[in-house]
Each structure stands twice: as structure tokens, then as C-alpha cells.
């Protein structure tokens, strides 16, 4: 199971690509899919590499990303 998971709100995404640069693993890429506003939205190209660091969400100017992290076993 991956350490992290993102939920990207496609309708909020404006395809600026800042999250792609912020991610160092790299997980994100443009999907080629257009949302209702016509923006090329970002998706998780390699979801297995996500560690849930949240850098993408910090950088997202449209607050389109929610970050989840795997529970650490007690």
C-alpha cells in the first residue's frame, strides 16, 4: 500500500503545473483530460510513489488537493 494518497478536485484544478514541480518523487503529471473550464488537469501518474508529504497541496494556488497518509501501526 502506498504511504500517501491525494484527492484532486478536477473542477478546481487550473492546470498551472506548480504541484508537478513541487513533487520530488515524482507522482503528478498532466492527465490530458480537460475539466469543464477547459483546463488540462493534473492526476496521479505514479500513485504508488506518493509519500503524502503534502508539498503539492501547499503549492496549489486553488486548494484543489487533499492529502492522506497511511496510518502508522502503533
Amino acid at each position: 500500500m502506498p504511504k500517501g494518497m491525494l484527492i484532486i478536485d478536477k473542477e478546481r484544478c487550473k492546470g498551472c503545473g506548480l504541484c508537478i514541480v513541487a513533487c520530488s518523487h515524482p507522482v503528478l503529471a498532466f492527465s490530458g483530460e480537460l475539466n469543464r473550464s477547459g483546463y488540462n488537469v493534473v492526476h496521479m501518474e505514479r500513485p504508488e510513489a506518493c509519500v503524502g508529504c503534502g508539498f503539492c497541496a501547499l503549492t496549489c494556488p486553488d486548494v484543489a488537493i487533499e492529502v492522506y497518509r497511511a496510518r502508522v501501526p502503533a
Binding site: M1, M5, I7, E11, R12, K14, G15, C16, G17, L18, V21, A22, Y39, H43, M44, P47, G52, G54, F55, A57, L58, T59, C60, P61, D62, V63, I65, E66, V67, Y68, R69, A70, R71
Partner: protein, 252 residues
């Protein structure tokens, strides 16, 4: 792709102080990051019920749509003056003014300086993107020497238009302000630093210390005619040379 977050913990989400409305900013604009940081700070301090924002004229004019706290939309440049009035009428409120460079450092120069000089107990967020964004990319007082804008198509010529104004340095000369700092948002480290600075500026007000100013170097990819990633690089490599980052005064 099926998404399952069943066995996971949410570590980052939309701050509760933000409404569900989508921002009207252009793709890659730093205003959005800053709007989110302020909302997160309001959440962390638990002050949404008694916070009043004062929005400028500029791209952030719709701030009242995005925050769950009260927001007043001031006349161009007068956000610091309106914030002064709100704070003096009800000192129990937490008042922040959110102003761009055209608003704060040009048309509102008098109001901005005198609010700082009186040491009003308010928090001012000053977004410096070196251009008039909303009206179509005209030269701002903070535009860099040689910067091409719609009113300086050959680049800003200091002989004709003067030099970029370092407004925070001017405010830092005064005796009254308690905290004046310049931050940026071009990478995650700067975003985290800016978040800390904004929290400090709000905390100063909560503790009754006085005037705090956080200048934030932001991008305007649309009017700079750059990709968002190029604009970030431009701030890191060019803009910070003219507007150095860091705390100017901290008497908190």
C-alpha cells in the same frame, strides 16, 4: 483510478475558513496560496467568528466570496484606513487588510504609511507582484527597472518613471510598527516561512502588540507573460535581488 482512503488519515485539506467558492485568480497565481494561508491561520487561531478582512481593489476584490469571516471591500488604497476604523470601533475584532502593490504602495500611500505610523493594532498583508494585475498589467510603483508592462512596452526607464519603491523598508523606518517582514511563495520552504510570518502577524494583533506588515512577493504569470513555473523562477532569481527577503523589524 479508484481512490480508497479508508485506512488513511487526512493530513491536508481545505481550511474551514474558506467557502466552497472557486478562486477567480488566473492559473498559477500566488494570490490563491496566500488566501489559503490566511484561512489556515484563522483556523489555527480559532478566530473565524471575530475576524474581519478588508479587501482591496485588485484581483483580490472578491475576497468576501472566499472567506467565512466578514470581509469589507474598501475603496482603492484605503484598506488600511478602513481596517483602522473597524479595529477602533470594536477592539475585540481581529482585523486584517489584504492589499496589492498598486493599492497599498501607490494610490493608498498616505493611508498605508499613517496607519503604520499610528501603530494601529492591525495586520496588513501586502501582496507585491510588481504589476497592476486586474486592470491589464500596467506599471506599478514596484515594477522592476526594465520590466515590460502594458504602459512601459520598452521596459521601465528610471529616468522617466523612477525606481521600484521598497515600501516595507520605508515602513520599517517608523517607530510604531512591531513587525515588518518580506516573504515569498516561490517554493515550499518559502511558503512555510510565509505561513509562520502571517501567523506571527495575527498573533501580534491578538496580543495587542500593534501594527504588523507582511509583504509577500507574488507572481503574476498572466501579466508577466510567463508560465507559472517560469514566474516562480523569476521571483527567486530576479525579484528577490531587488526586494530582499527576511524580517526588517521584529519588536514583538
Amino acid at each position: 483510478m479508484p481512490v480508497s482512503t479508508e485506512k488513511m488519515v487526512k493530513v491536508f485539506g481545505r481550511p474551514g475558513s474558506l467557502t466552497e467558492a472557486r478562486f477567480t485568480y488566473c492559473p498559477g497565481c500566488h494570490h490563491g496560496i496566500l488566501t489559503r494561508i490566511i484561512a489556515q491561520t484563522i483556523d489555527e487561531l480559532g478566530i473565524v467568528e471575530r475576524t474581519v478582512g478588508v479587501a482591496p481593489v485588485g484581483c483580490a476584490v472578491f475576497a468576501y466570496l472566499w472567506y467565512r469571516c466578514d470581509v469589507i471591500q474598501a475603496s482603492h488604497g484605503r484598506a488600511s484606513a478602513v481596517a483602522t476604523g473597524v479595529k477602533r470601533a470594536n477592539p475585540n475584532l481581529i482585523v486584517f487588510a489584504y492589499q496589492g502593490d498598486g493599492d497599498f504602495a501607490s494610490i493608498g500611500t498616505a493611508e498605508s504609511i499613517h496607519a503604520a505610523n499610528r501603530g494601529e493594532n492591525i495586520t496588513v498583508i501586502f501582496v507585491n507582484n510588481q504589476v497592476y494585475g486586474m486592470t491589464g498589467g500596467e506599471m506599478a510603483p514596484t515594477s522592476l527597472v526594465g520590466q515590460k508592462t502594458t504602459t512601459t512596452p520598452d521596459g521601465r526607464d528610471p529616468a522617466l518613471f523612477g525606481y521600484p519603491i521598497r515600501f516595507s523598508e520605508m515602513i520599517a523606518q517608523l517607530d510604531a510598527p512591531v513587525y515588518v517582514t518580506r516573504q515569498a511563495l516561490y517554493d515550499t520552504k518559502r511558503i512555510m516561512d510565509a505561513t509562520k510570518a502571517i501567523k506571527k502577524a495575527f498573533t501580534n494583533q491578538l496580543e495587542g502588540k500593534g501594527y504588523s506588515l507582511v509583504e509577500v512577493l507574488a507572481t503574476c504569470p498572466t501579466n508577466w507573460r510567463m508560465k507559472p513555473t517560469e514566474a516562480n523562477k523569476h521571483v527567486a532569481e530576479v525579484v528577490t535581488k531587488v526586494f530582499p527577503l527576511g524580517d526588517l523589524i521584529d519588536r514583538g
